[in-house]
Symmetry: C2
Subunit: 364 residues, 2 copies
């Protein structure tokens, strides 16, 4: 079967849910609270991260897309995604973490399409091989239809300490390349990460595929009020504003995935399709790096270097000259400039925190 | 006698000549061909370099100031120096090196004030102790009145390889702390510089004090046509445009000072008053450096750092964040940004040369 045939045959009720939240503080000054990571073209592809996310899912879901984002970003998301029905872009009145966002989408889909299977994929991740990604998701959707909460287990490329891991168990009979999940484990220390990789653990990229009712019933088993509130909002959308603020702030991993794994209800489909969550400028540089010493995100004509390597982002349209610095990171925007190194890319967060408290909080 | 008394008694006919030329390429992007170094406040004093140059000479010369600058910079100079008579700002039709600029000033003064003694001081040097500077210049003016070509010999603070040196000879009888010059020597290699410093050589800062006729007669001894042409322009200012392009391009040091020293006609007054020619951002950083690790030229509120040292110039008014870089140089202007290190500050020149040849030559 071709990819199109697979989509047509088994994905008629498959929905993409795209939680679009998080400021991406470690990508300041490109990413801001007012214009977070997912609204930017961080790969120089000509598409923003949320546009690329939708692009890679459209062959599976056609118009069946639901985006859940901050109310203040709703207009920008609608503008960036003309192919998504405006009613399919839900604005959260306030940030309430991923369980509320994904749970609300589940409750809406449960009402709208009784045969729905949903896959939740963050708006700000990068995937370099979308075709393999779609094949893996299609496999996950088949398992989800059987009632499993399915996660995608990314094949580690190195012993990362910035991601949680998935312990893979036995193959599930009757399902293609699908395994039981023994447990989810938190971000490990370096030595533990190395052991995980050796033992065949997978990265947890926070992708979940399931029937909406499965997600909500699993949640109901842990926190019945929470599940009831979400279903209530879906049934009476006019109550969203008032009911939202009462919802618990909790990640879907803790609220549902971890207890479900302990109960043997979670499956994992392994995948290897060039995934990155672009956590900071060092990982962005790794992602974009070409043969040469210096990577430019933007117009290379604006960048002049001598004995320099690293990442330069000339997004203010000004000329940027770098002389005699290795593994440097220079991010030039209209109102703020960052100069750091690959090694210290994580520490950008601290500068943003300091700016938030000072006279320049508007820049964060 | 007080400083004011000295000025009143012996400096009635003392004139300041200020050659204002040179792009200051190694201070790009602050300094540009269109807005060279001397037009900028590089010390954060609130005065540009040329303003500070005039400020420190006014107690000696009052309104007796002659500036020779590029025709394209004349308006900017006039605007920056409201206290200088507009007729005292001469625009060179094209760059013709320092002999033409200083020689033209000498020819103009020879006509205007037969008792004149002139001192020539570059527009883009920094002096941290102007009072001592004036005492030294006053001594030089006294020797100049006696017919000497007098230079100021700066006490070296380190064995610099970027300056020429002056070999100091015997004291001149009847003149206060004034010595014969044995010879001028070119910029030395490091080991030679160390020997010079040990042997009591002085830095040649290009400051010359003399009667205008002495300078022109010395020039006439080497190149009679050149001296005649300068005197001709002074007598018929309307010929400037046409005559200027025929003048030789030569530095005053080679045209006059070196041959005069060989002939025993040059005196030196030693001085120690915190002099710097701000050759690049490393020397600017040294000049401005305070106790802390990071020097800011501009509004410190705009700069946020974490584990950083060096120089930041936030002259575009944007926030500049620097994380994890030692001895870095970050110069942020409205249309161009430079990121380099103290160590590589000299190499900025190469980047500017490359820009000159490309699409962004307008930025140089």
């Amino acid at each position: 079967m071709t990819e199109a045939d697979v989509a047509a045959s088994s994905l008629d009720h498959f929905w993409a849910v795209i939680p679009a939240g998080g400021a991406g503080t470690r990508l300041w000054p490109l990413s801001r609270a007012a214009a977070p990571k997912f609204l930017h073209d961080l790969t120089g592809s000509g598409r923003t991260l949320i546009q690329a996310t939708v692009d890679r899912l459209v062959p599976l879901v056609a118009e069946r897309v639901l985006v859940v984002t901050g109310a203040s970003h709703r207009d920008a998301v609608v503008a960036q995604l003309p192919e998504v029905d405006e009613a399919g872009v839900v604005g959260e009145p306030s940030p309430r973490d991923s369980m509320a966002a994904i749970g609300l989408a589940a409750a809406m889909l449960e009402l709208r399409d009784p045969d729905a299977v949903m896959g939740s994929f963050a708006a700000d991740h990068v995937i370099t091989d979308p075709q393999t990604f779609r094949a893996v998701v299609t496999r996950a959707a088949a398992a989800a239809r059987e009632g499993w909460l399915v996660t995608i287990g990314i094949e580690p490329t190195h012993p990362a300490t910035g991601f949680g891991y998935i312990a893979v168990g036995d193959p599930l009979p009757g399902l293609d390349e699908t395994f039981a999940v023994r447990e989810f484990v938190e971000k490990p220390a370096a030595d533990v990460a190395a052991r995980y990789v050796e033992d065949g653990y997978r990265w947890n990229a926070g992708m979940f595929v399931a029937r909406p009712g499965v997600i909500l019933d699993l949640l109901a088993g842990e926190d019945p009020d929470f599940a009831r509130a979400l279903r209530g909002i879906a049934a009476a959308p006019e109550t969203l504003e008032e009911a939202w603020s009462t919802l618990p702030r909790i990640a879907v991993d803790h609220a549902v995935a971890e207890p479900a794994a302990a109960a043997g209800r979670v499956a994992v489909v392994p995948g290897s399709f060039g995934w990155d969550d672009i956590g900071d400028f060092a990982s962005l540089e790794t992602l974009l790096r070409s043969a040469g010493g210096l990577t430019v995100l933007g117009d290379p004509e604006l960048v002049r270097t001598l004995d320099a390597s690293g990442l330069v982002v000339p997004s203010a349209g000004r000329v940027v000259a770098v002389v005699g610095l290795e593994d440097v990171v220079v991010v030039d925007t209209g109102d703020a400039l960052l100069v750091t190194t690959r090694e210290r890319a994580q520490d950008v967060k601290a500068v943003v925190a300091a700016l938030k408290e000072g006279a320049h909080h508007g820049l964060t």
